[in-house]
């Protein structure tokens, strides 16, 4: 099982994501933003960071990277794609996921250990969890407030596509406490908090983020 991890200029959590892929039991394959092929990977992760500095809207430039054309194509055919933080922003800008991530409601960058509740375990990236399971993983971003119009929100909720919600006080003003969503098919997932920083209690708040990276193995076995 080969999981690609894309590095854009300005990507920061690529090595962390690769480490998590390996900890989950798969092979991590480095993909470069300018690559013209996906190197036969079975799944792709878009890691966190500040691609191209995020001086424009976050992710607005990355969506035009050559590798994204291939990712969009593969996602359309059902390849599992996970976007974490900046990766989630790129997926929204690429229209693989609806909505947008805007500045945190208090306008500050926020790094903290965040409790989230897994609300959908039918996706390629969440099957290792149980519905209602609460986990603590790091949240760290300046633009993590999920926004969309009422119609989209109703659709996301109606189709069960909210895959995780913040527990307790809303950390950033996201609508309906949304921490992550999926596409209709469930192969593309965007998540604001960082499971790759919670694969080992030595370096993270918990090891409870590992499930995202073991889920992908289940998806392949099916």
């Amino acid at each position: 099982m080969r999981v690609g991890v894309i590095t854009f200029p300005g990507t920061l959590d690529d090595r962390d994501a690769a480490r998590a892929v390996i900890a989950g039991g798969a092979e991590a394959v480095a993909l470069w933003h300018a690559d013209a092929d996906l190197k036969n990977v079975d799944a792709v992760i878009l890691p966190g960071g500040f691609s191209y500095g995020d001086y424009l809207r976050c992710g607005a430039i990355s969506r035009f990277a050559p590798v994204m054309k291939l990712v969009i194509e593969a996602a359309g055919k059902g390849m599992p794609v996970l976007g974490i933080c900046n990766g989630f922003q790129v997926l929204c800008e690429s229209h693989l996921l609806p909505g947008a991530l805007t500045r945190n409601s208090d306008l500050h960058f926020l790094c903290r250990d965040q409790e989230i509740e897994i609300t959908n375990t039918q996706t390629a990236w969440t099957s290792s969890y149980s519905v209602g399971q609460k986990i603590v993983i790091p949240l760290k971003n300046g633009e993590g407030s999920f926004q969309c119009d009422d119609e989209t929100l109703a659709q996301l909720e109606g189709e069960g596509r909210v895959i995780a919600r913040y527990v307790g006080q809303n950390p950033n003003g996201s609508r309906n406490l949304i921490a992550g969503i999926s596409n209709a098919r469930g192969n593309v997932v965007g998540l604001m908090p960082h499971p790759e920083h919670a694969i080992d209690a030595l370096t993270g708040p918990t090891a409870e983020g590992l499930g995202f990276f073991t889920s992908i193995l289940n998806a392949m076995v099916k």
Binding site: G10, L12, D13, G49, F109, C111, R112, L202, T203
Partner: protein, 743 residues
């Protein structure tokens, strides 16, 4: 303005030049003429003015800093010492760690966000320049009174700048300080520390060797920002009502720096450079003259080849610009093609601007006309040296002869009120409002970060080798006794890393003071350096480098003498570190060390506006024995937790421990007021299981460290004698302060 060339300078010896506006004194200008045998060209004048600034030349501090070399202890760990961009120490298993701290004080007052951001950017490039991957940053910060209106302008901007730049580079921020005092109003201190990791064989130095090798400039284009940053901004006292000097502040682009880091590490990995230097303070003037003097001295540069953001810049401005995110490498001609390829991969602008020559002159041309022809050592290393007058200031005898007179709590109600008050006072309150704006998780190797006693980073994922680092200063003690203050800060930083079980290895420092032209300030500085050098010799810790920041004063008011000391240590297995607090009930709490009535310079005295008395005297022999107890206790698995006591004494130490995992404690104290408030140095709280009592007693006795029982862990309150403080109210007191002040 017409181009001023060497040829013109030779024929117009009497032209009047603006040396004073550039920050040079008349005798310094005369010396430049003597060196060159003619008047300098305007470009040469620009170079000398920035390189001979206090910030770059250390002209007032050099005679004192010599002690770090003269009194250097024997150390097997030191691989690269003072003089390079940063010191390098051997941490075992073939790894070398480089670390350094620098100030960016004045720019951060003028423009808080950019000043702080580029402070981080500059120190990170210093670490990168040594050949290392930067792995963490830390930021000791000092501000005017927490409730002052200007602090509300400066602090949020500085915090956002530190976070904005560091977060975007992907560097975890693992600690620092946030301290308030009225002397920092108008002179906030922004000190930035960076740590980098490499293999021994990867160490790079700033030298231009080998005639015919190319001088290659890469990274951001040069703009008009930060011109004269080191001279007109960093090396002068702020006057009242003067210009704001905003154009002298650099503007940072962290994305470019992130790309520059990855690009440089790829270039280093393929061994494509002979020497390398970053462009920081004094920009190209510094990089070219330092690289040339690091080699045989000869270098030729075509300044018109420098890529510009603003094409209207004059050669003088290009030489003085402190535009960020630039590096200068010395590259063998046959390796240039590969160098350019890697830069192209990362979309980094790169230009060969000159070459190393056989001579001993640095020659810079502009459209083929020679505008600079100097011996580079005279620019980079042979600047003026001042033995400035110094005198013990009058206040010293005055404050030392007084005794602190403070209310000492004794009743249960008084103890409750005191502990809650200390928990919420800005200097001791929870700093999450600040640190939650910093990414502490990126890179996945952070083992400890704020509010732990020290920051700790894993450097090998297989062997679990790690390093710990702490920065400390107690300016109140330094004010009362600068010699002791520096020693005590050194001891505290070393103790903070030993508390977790890391063995102290080496020291860096950032010496923040007022104007060196004030004999009293100069005396404070000299005493601090003497204290630090003596302390390092006694503790066997080499000083690997550092930074001096003078002129931190507005008008006649200087900041408190603030020597910030950083100590780096190594731990063989980060998994076995001693944590800062306990998460279970039923443990016994002990105090290691002696408590005296040390209230002078304490937080309790500060809160009551009293800065008088005599600072404690550092007993470094005892500190070293305490460190051995802490290291042995970790190795023998005696401690469940250990926490250093410093500002706020036992009261603050207990508050931080019980709140960490929300497990309370019941404490019994004789002489309760002094026990809670004293800040006697060399003390650590440890938590142990009852079965370890004998082992702890044996260990303490072996190293002659006083051991006394404090109480036990458990419950949902902090109980001190008959005073009961619920964790809920303690947490509220501790955490409410910053959000209330800063929103």
């Amino acid at each position: 303005m017409a181009l001023d060339t060497v040829a013109i300078a030779q024929t117009t010896p009497d032209d009047i030049q603006p040396f004073a506006q550039l920050g040079l004194k008349a005798d310094e200008y005369a010396r430049i003429k003597e060196i060159l045998g003619r008047r300098p060209t305007s470009s040469e004048l620009a170079m000398y003015s920035v390189m001979w600034s206090e910030h770059c030349s250390y002209k007032s501090s050099k005679v004192h800093l010599k002690q770090f070399g003269d009194k250097a202890p024997k150390s097997d760990a030191l691989l690269v010492g003072i003089g390079e961009n940063a010191g390098v120490v051997d941490v075992g298993q073939g790894y070398a760690v480089t670390f350094k701290i620098e100030s960016h004080n004045h720019p951060s007052f003028v423009e808080p966000y950019q000043g702080a951001a580029t402070g981080v950017g500059g120190i990170v490039r210093d670490i990168l320049t040594m050949g290392a991957r930067p792995v963490a940053v830390m930021d000791p910060l000092r501000f005017g009174p927490a409730d002052a209106p200007d602090t509300r302008r400066v602090l949020p901007g500085i915090v956002a700048g530190v976070g904005g730049y560091g977060n975007c580079l992907g560097l975890p921020n693992i600690g620092g300080e946030v301290i308030f005092d009225e002397t920092y109003a108008g002179n906030p201190l922004v000190n930035a520390l960076c740590i980098g990791v490499m293999k021994h064989s990867d160490i790079k130095l700033a030298k231009a060797a080998g005639a015919g090798n190319l001088v290659v400039l890469y990274g951001a284009k040069t703009g008009g920002d930060g011109i004269g940053g080191v001279s007109v901004l960093a090396s002068e006292t702020f006057g009242s009502g003067g210009s704001t000097k905003r154009p002298s502040v650099q503007v940072g682009d962290p994305f470019v720096e992130k790309v520059l880091i990855e690009c440089s590490l790829e270039i280093f990995a393929e061994d494509l450079v002979v020497g390398i230097q970053d462009l920081g303070g004094a920009g190209l003037s510094c990089a070219t003259s330092e690289l040339a003097s690091g080699g045989s001295g000869g270098m030729k540069v075509a300044l018109d080849k420098v890529p510009l953001r603003d094409p209207s810049l004059s050669p003088e401005e290009i030489l003085m610009s402190e535009s960020q995110e630039r590096m200068c490498a010395i590259v063998e001609p046959e390796k240039l093609a590969r160098f350019l390829e890697i830069c192209a991969k990362w979309d980094v602008t790169v230009t060969a601007i000159g070459e190393v020559t056989d001579g001993d002159r640095l020659i810079i041309t502009w459209n083929d006309q020679v505008i600079v022809n100097v011996p580079p050592r005279t620019v980079a290393h042979e600047g003026p040296v001042y033995n400035r007058p110094m005198a013990q200031p009058a206040y010293i005898d005055d404050v030392n002869s007084q005794v602190v007179q403070l209310p000492i709590p004794s009743s249960a109600a008084e103890i409750r009120a005191t502990v809650l008050q200390l928990a919420g006072t800005p200097n001791l309150a929870d700093k999450s409002w600040v640190t939650s704006q910093y990414d502490k998780y990126v890179q996945g190797n952070t083992i400890q970060s704020q509010p732990d006693d020290s920051g700790m980073i894993r450097i090998d994922e297989k062997t679990h080798l790690g390093v710990a680092i702490s920065t400390d200063a107690n300016a109140n003690w330094s004010y009362l006794n600068p010699y002791q203050g520096a020693k005590l800060a050194l001891a505290e930083a070393a103790r903070n890393i030993a508390t977790a079980g890391a063995r102290p290895l080496a020291v860096t420092n950032c010496l923040n003071f007022g104007s060196p032209e004030d004999p009293g300030v100069m005396w404070q500085f000299a005493e601090s350096v003497r204290g630090l050098a003596d302390g390092c010799l006694e503790m066997g810790l080499p000083v690997t480098g550092g930074n001096v920041s003078f002129y931190n004063q507005t008008g006649a008011v200087a900041i408190l003498p603030t020597p910030v000391i950083g100590v780096l240590g190594v731990i063989d297995d980060v998994r076995t570190r001693t944590p800062m607090s306990f998460d279970v009930a039923g443990l016994d709490l002990y105090l290691l060390g002696d408590t005296h009535a040390d209230l002078a310079g304490s937080e309790w005295a500060f809160m009551h506006g009293q800065r008088v008395g005599q600072s404690p005297t550092a007993d470094l022999g005892r500190e070293m024995r305490l460190i051995e107890v802490l290291l042995a206790g970790r190795e023998e698995k005696i401690f469940s937790a250990a926490h250093d006591l410093s500002q706020g004494g036992l009261s603050a130490g207990l508050t931080e421990m019980v709140l960490r995992h929300s497990v309370g404690a019941t404490i019994t104290l004789a002489d309760v007021g002094i026990s809670l408030l004293s800040e006697s140095p060399g003390r650590v709280i440890v938590a142990i299981e009852a079965s370890k009592t004998d082992a702890l007693s044996t260990l303490a006795a072996k190293y002659h460290i006083t051991l006394s029982k404090l109480g036990t862990t458990g419950g949902d309150s902090l109980i001190i004698n008959d005073a009961v403080i619920s964790l809920a109210e303690l947490r509220t007191a501790h955490t409410a302060t910053f959000p209330k002040l800063f929103g």
